[in-house]
């Protein structure tokens, strides 16, 4: 990823050092080593801050039409110019970030929650429960996700909530498998066996001993999930099945790029949302990569 010397001495150095530190400190040590992940995290923090502070960093409401601003070039008053309807592009990018990020976060929270529940039931109880849940998972994984999401959204009607819900409700199978697999391996570990022998309740074993070990890989999966949910929203909006205007989202703002005229002469209409998606998704992926490496010492060679 980053430019580094591949000398074995140096490579193993942090791991050796980290052997003595607490798990959290070890995690941070490894994560900080990942320069792109660190940079990405800072970038994402800025994006998130801008989105949260949207009313304070913009001068114009995102849905307000200014006369004479239709496709107008950037100026001191409107630093990223105006869009096809004469709205301030900077405001729309910032508010659009709110929408796109929340679509990503909400959708992933839904699918992670489902994955956690189904995966845990499946992994912990095994047998018929496992069998049933896993077969449903298998079936769900067979559907091409975007086609399925598109179909369901078009059946329900496009709206920001439907998009969030549908991406979330259909996106859980991969994570559910991950949770199950993780639980299957953790429950064989000695300390779980020991807890069982000591008569600790199922629920306690689950929540106190097993789940913490599941959360790390799940967090990594969730990170990548947010990235792909943002892309899915963009695609759906492009097809007119996503977040409905005038509410801005990075996806529906990109619709401006459907015109060669705008592509050629009005870069400020499509470059900002395009770059916002590209950089945010890129940063999320780098961060996910960093998290994975930091959580999983085996991967730290990468």
């Amino acid at each position: 990823m980053t430019v580094k010397q591949a000398e074995p001495e140096q490579l193993f150095e942090p791991t050796r050092r980290s052997a003595t530190a607490t798990p959290r400190a070890r995690f941070w040590l490894r994560f900080r080593r990942h320069k792109m992940a660190m940079a990405s995290m800072i970038f994402l923090a800025i994006v998130a801050l801008l989105a949260l502070a949207a009313p304070y960093v913009t001068q114009h409401p995102p849905e307000k039409i200014h006369s004479g601003l239709t496709r107008a070039a950037p100026s001191a008053e409107h630093i990223l110019g105006g869009d096809v309807a004469g709205r301030d592009v900077w405001s729309r990018v910032v508010y659009g970030g709110r929408v796109s990020l929340s679509v990503g976060l909400v959708a992933v929270s839904i699918s992670i929650l489902i994955a956690l529940i189904l995966g845990s039931l499946s992994g912990y109880y095994g047998g018929a429960v496992d069998m049933a849940i896993m077969r449903v998972t298998d079936v769900m994984m067979v559907f091409p996700l975007l086609i399925l999401i598109m179909t369901v959204v078009s059946v329900l009607g496009p709206s920001i909530y439907n998009v969030m819900a549908v991406i979330g409700l259909l996106g859980w199978p991969t994570s559910a498998r991950l949770v199950r697999g993780q639980i299957l391996s953790v429950r064989e570990w000695d300390f779980v066996m020991a807890a069982r022998c000591l008569g600790v309740q199922d629920r306690n074993i689950m929540f106190k001993h097993i789940l913490p070990h599941v959360l790390a890989p799940l967090l990594v999966a969730a990170t990548f999930g947010v990235a792909s949910a943002i892309l899915t929203e963009a695609g759906l909006s492009f097809l007119g099945l996503g977040v409905l205007p005038p509410t801005p989202s990075w996806g529906n703002m990109l619709n401006g790029a459907q015109s060669i005229y705008i592509l050629e002469r009005h870069w400020w209409i499509w470059v900002p949302p395009g770059m916002a998606i590209l950089l945010t998704v890129l940063a999320i992926n780098f961060m996910g990569d960093g998290l994975r490496d930091a959580f999983d010492p085996r991967m730290s060679l990468d």
């Binding site: 559907f143 975007l146 086609i147 598109m150 369901v152 892309l231 492009f238 990109l254 790029a257 590209l278």
Partner: protein
């Protein structure tokens, strides 16, 4: 091994049934009716309520949903997916024609991305943490991060319009005699647009799995035996690192179908993706259901084939099961 294969094949049937049930559940949620999207707003103005009622009745939209589903399923089992309301043609025919257009693009995309992804992944892994590695990694990540339709729009603008190298869309050039060259010319741009994301993931996968393999003991042994580094990598490392790629390629199909939805729209390329977008716009339920079902079956089969290949290719599985 044969019991494993048999079990694997038998597993397909319950999965298939599950697919139709989920498919049904989704469409049971549908409000309204496809008729609404079938009438030109201009025509609608002049339709009386009675016209609309008649039109609905004529389309069989007044029957209860479970009845409609059972009708559909009983036909589907016999290989008849019903008729597309909009096309007035069997769904199967519509999808088959669309698939005939999509397949060459997907195969092109799969081949391009496999070759490019693996080759660049090896380059990346041989010189980890070099400048080249960083460039390639960024390239790979960008492939995963750029919205496919956006990349496709830029490709059309740059390659088709500015450089004037390839056609902007469609399947063939109208009026020309059908030829391989003409077909290929129309496949390259959508194929590349579709391939980018897969290339990125394969590059990342090849790189990390090769790096992992290269650090294994047997590689050290091979090196210790005095084998040249390149041979070590290619003979021992690559083989082991790339075996799982068979499975990965098998699992790419759903993503390709998903990508095709957007990319075929941009390229006006009448394949599965575009057909599904139109079905969604028209709320042509039989076509939507049939399309979802058929793509799911294709994915199921491609997973099965990938699994079987893998079983044959990887000796470890044979021993386990034997």
């Amino acid at each position: 091994m044969s019991t494993y294969i048999l079990r694997r094949i038998l597993l397909v049937f319950p999965l298939l049934l599950g697919v139709t049930i989920i498919n049904y559940t989704i469409f049971a949620l549908a409000p309204g009716d496809p008729l609404s999207a079938m009438i030109d707003p201009l025509e609608l103005n002049s339709m009386t309520e009675e016209d609309v009622r008649e039109a609905k009745e004529a389309l069989g939209l007044n029957k209860p949903i479970p009845v409609r589903y059972l009708l559909w399923l009983s036909q589907a089992i016999r290989g008849n997916l019903g008729y597309s309301i909009w096309f007035n043609t069997p769904v199967f025919d519509v999808m088959l024609r669309a698939l005939g257009n999509s397949m060459p693009v997907m195969i092109f995309a799969l081949m391009t991305s496999t070759i490019a992804g693996i080759a660049l992944g090896i380059v990346s892994a041989l010189k980890p943490y070099s400048l080249l590695d960083s460039v390639l990694t960024t390239f790979a990540f960008a492939g995963v991060a750029v919205p496919g339709f956006f990349f496709a729009l830029l490709l059309i603008y740059a390659v088709a319009i500015r450089m004037d190298l390839l056609p902007t869309g469609g399947v063939t050039t109208p009026g020309l005699e059908p030829s391989f060259g003409d077909r290929l010319a129309h496949i390259i741009l959508p194929g590349l647009a579709l391939a980018y994301e897969t290339t990125g993931s394969l590059l990342r996968y090849t790189r990390s799995s090769l790096l992992e393999v290269l650090s294994q003991d047997y590689m050290t042994t091979a090196r210790a035996k005095g084998l040249v580094e390149r041979i070590v990598v290619l003979r021992h490392g690559l083989r082991n690192a790339l075996l799982p790629i068979i499975t990965i390629l098998g699992l790419r199909l759903p993503f390709l179908f998903g990508g095709a939805v957007l990319i075929e729209t941009v390229f006006n390329y009448p394949g599965v993706g575009l057909t599904m977008v139109q079905a969604a716009n028209m709320r042509d339920y039989p076509l939507m259901m049939g399309g979802v079902l058929l793509t799911a079956i294709l994915v199921l089969l491609s997973n099965l084939i990938a699994d079987l290949f893998y079983t044959v290719a990887d000796p470890r599985i044979r021993y386990e099961e034997g």
